[in-house]
């Protein structure tokens, strides 16, 4: 399935979008396979609850498929998609004011590494600590970090998705990095780095 997603990413172009706009369900499926993990990752890290993230991701794709007719190609498709994702996550947080419980709810999709089990365990501990620390950041600092590190967007792209200036993105990422470093300063000398 993952291979299919990789192939699909290369095939996402105007023609695929047009096929979706004409209601081709196979095209929808292709679009879903391409972006499902990215959308789900942002939802999980943003909302802190796997079950809620599952619901929100489904709603995002439903909304995407319903509204795709309105996509005119004036901006990148991904920008349009991530704007939907960010708004959906912010709406969900506003709606529920959820007290998030990190750590136990987020299972990772970690690629297998040829490292000792001890080191893998230590790395997993670090990744979990990072997830928890990110969960404690304010949304305005957390979302740019997720778009940067989970999605690999540039500052310019994050600014477009979030509807703010590139300077604001730089400043929020700076603050986010600094907060993470302070909260997890005890990990600085971990052998797993």
């Amino acid at each position: 399935m993952e291979q299919r997603a990789v192939m699909a990413e290369r095939l996402v172009d105007g023609q695929l979008i047009r096929a979706c706009q004409h209601g081709d369900r196979e095209a929808f499926r292709l679009l879903f396979e391409t972006y499902k993990d990215r959308v789900f990752s942002i939802a999980v890290y943003s909302l802190g609850d796997r079950a809620v993230a599952d619901d929100v991701t489904q709603q995002i794709f439903l909304k995407l498929f319903t509204a795709i007719g309105q996509f005119r190609g004036d901006s990148e498709f991904t920008t349009w998609l991530y704007r939907l994702v960010v708004n959906a996550c912010l709406d969900e947080r506003r709606r529920t004011r959820r007290l998030v419980s990190w750590g136990d709810s987020v299972a990772m999709n970690n690629p297998s590494e040829k490292k000792s089990q001890e080191k893998q365990y230590a790395r997993r501990e670090i990744a979990e600590a990072v997830q928890n620390a990110i969960g404690e950041l304010k949304p305005k600092f957390r979302l740019p970090i997720l778009l940067k590190y989970v999605e690999g967007l540039s500052y310019e792209e994050i600014a477009t998705v979030m509807g703010c200036s590139k300077g604001t993105v730089a400043s929020r990422l700076n603050r986010g990095h600094s907060e993470l470093a302070k909260r997890l300063s005890h990990l600085k000398n971990e052998a797993a780095w």
């Binding site: 209601g23 081709d24 369900r25 789900f40 999980v44 890290y45 599952d54 990422l173 700076n174």
Partner: protein, 397 residues
Amino acid sequence: MFSKHVKSELSAYCQGELSETRSRAVAEHVMRCTQCRAQLEEIKFGIKLAEQLPRVAAPEQMWSEIQSLMDREGIASSVTRRQSIFWRPQFVAIAACLLVAIVVGALWLLRDHSVEPTGPTWQVATLNGKPTIGSSAISKRGKLGVGQWLETDHNSSAEISVASIGQVQVDPNTRVRLVQTQPTEHRLELARGRMSARIWAPPRLFFVDTPSAVAADLGCAYTLEVDDTGASLLRVTLGWVALQLKDRESMVPAGAACQTRSGIGPGTPYFEDASAEFREALTELDFGQDTSSRATHLNVLLGQARRKDTLTLWHLLTRVNAEERLRIYEKMASLAPPPNGVTRDGVLKLDPAMLNKWKDELELDWTYSTFVPKQVAEAYWKVKNGVTRRMSKLEGK
């Protein structure tokens, strides 16, 4: 003395999101400002942490749930009447091409994996003989990938271009490995032999791991040698280098050297023009097994110490017992009295703020030593900034 602090721009700087002019200004400021340098370390650590975030796989059954919702809400129900996009000729053709490309690529990688490393590489130029990368000898030029070893025999030597931030000359009988190369960190491992580095980048961007310490570049030129026991010798010719192992750190300025030993870490830095007696006594204090003769060695060291040897004495303060510390303090105070706000009691209790304040004052003696004349030291930043500018121009072309 400083231009405006650049703390708010450090993330953008680390991630290549600043303009060339702004990036250069930030680099120049960071080289001189201890506050922004400390903040840069924090930001780099924050970036490293954020990079640990894995992508989370969506649940397998999600598509069937979405399909049910689509059916219920009547979205895309016309698909059965429509020819699926995947069976259109152009998609079949694209898919076939991709499949062929993947198969050819996989076969090529399996056949010749060791020759062309994937991912980022550093350029290597042969200076003499035939150095090897992995198991292959290189003739004139080669590429060193992450995880690969570059090895020279007694007849060969090579020069590595360290990303765009400097050069490393690898002498004969040396073995080095590229551990990592990223915008926030470039790292080599020196297992044995000798290398000389010339780096023009902000502090703590280039590191060399040795069996007994890590050398962190603070903007400088230096040589580093590792013998078969894992012991090493660092000699700095320009700028500063920090040698670290866990909590033990030695700051080594131009004109000074520092030894390391396996299991102990960095010794105490000393100026290379110190007397032979001074250097021998220091080696005994740092690494000697015979504790009964420490007092004798300390006598020799204090008797031979000059004003600029406060470099050695300052580092020793935190590495000796209380009785020895008192004797070192008194010698230091006689050579270079502590500044206002630094008290005898505070130093003897190893108050970090006081130790740092005294060090800041003493650094003028260490940097403007006879080995590096004051004019040269002052010109250093100017030259270095010029080099950075020229490099940026070249890269921009």
